[in-house]
Subunit: 158 residues, 2 copies
Amino acid sequence: MKNLTDTDKAYIAGFLDGDGSIISQIVKSKDYRFGFYIRLSITFIQKTDKNWFLNNLKDQLKFGTLRDRNDGFSEYVIVSSGPVEFLLIQLLPYLKIKRRLALHVLKIIESKRNINNNKLLFIEACSLVDETISMTYSKKRSITKEVVVKYLDSNNIQ
Amino acid sequence: MKNLTDTDKAYIAGFLDGDGSIISQIVKSKDYRFGFYIRLSITFIQKTDKNWFLNNLKDQLKFGTLRDRNDGFSEYVIVSSGPVEFLLIQLLPYLKIKRRLALHVLKIIESKRNINNNKLLFIEACSLVDETISMTYSKKRSITKEVVVKYLDSNNIQ
């Protein structure tokens, strides 16, 4: 990733604007103190006959996982705050359509970093995730801040 | 278009690779000597709430037409050999997924230029258009070289 040129970054920004996704979501998991965690990812999907392209992109970026799904499509996913933050900062000067969303996701990453097991700060970060619903064409989400708050209350988690 | 920087070109190439179309097709029209003509275009489609993006792109490229369709999408189309050739040559150093198709379309443009009312050369150019079917995910086309040849024969066009 160190050696991305400006035109590499601009190209990837254009591709992400056109056909990639920047996703933030609240995911249920008992492994986490609050019963949920915030998952951030950047995803690129192409027909499997073009997975050479995703493979080259992965070689260039040096992180993330690529898999051929069984529906004729391949999926390259970069998950977790570190890589997502790093990539978005590189692309930010060139992003257009997803620029606002990228900035918002950088804000979520910053909030996550400050949670330190503080329930209110976690709820606040969930609220930021909810705000991305209006910035994307994602379908109605089942897990929102409301769901998290109800769960925390009913399980008496402090 | 003169002032596109390298990162502008790389960005547009990335966006075209991700979400744009390079289209070549044989179109029926009695206005033309052979009853058909070859139409070349580059098309970008976005939901109308993002037509600001297409509008900026059009301002940058200085050609093509942008219209809001009545299905919630907006369409920016650059038609005809001159602008298509000019743009593809600018983007060629950066295109990846559509690089092979772009080169092929440049070849079609070159062939078109040499037709000069020569029927065999026109048929040859139609044959090049047919070859793009395997390079894209376009649906089965109704007008192929075969259709053109039959029409020319049955109408005794020399």
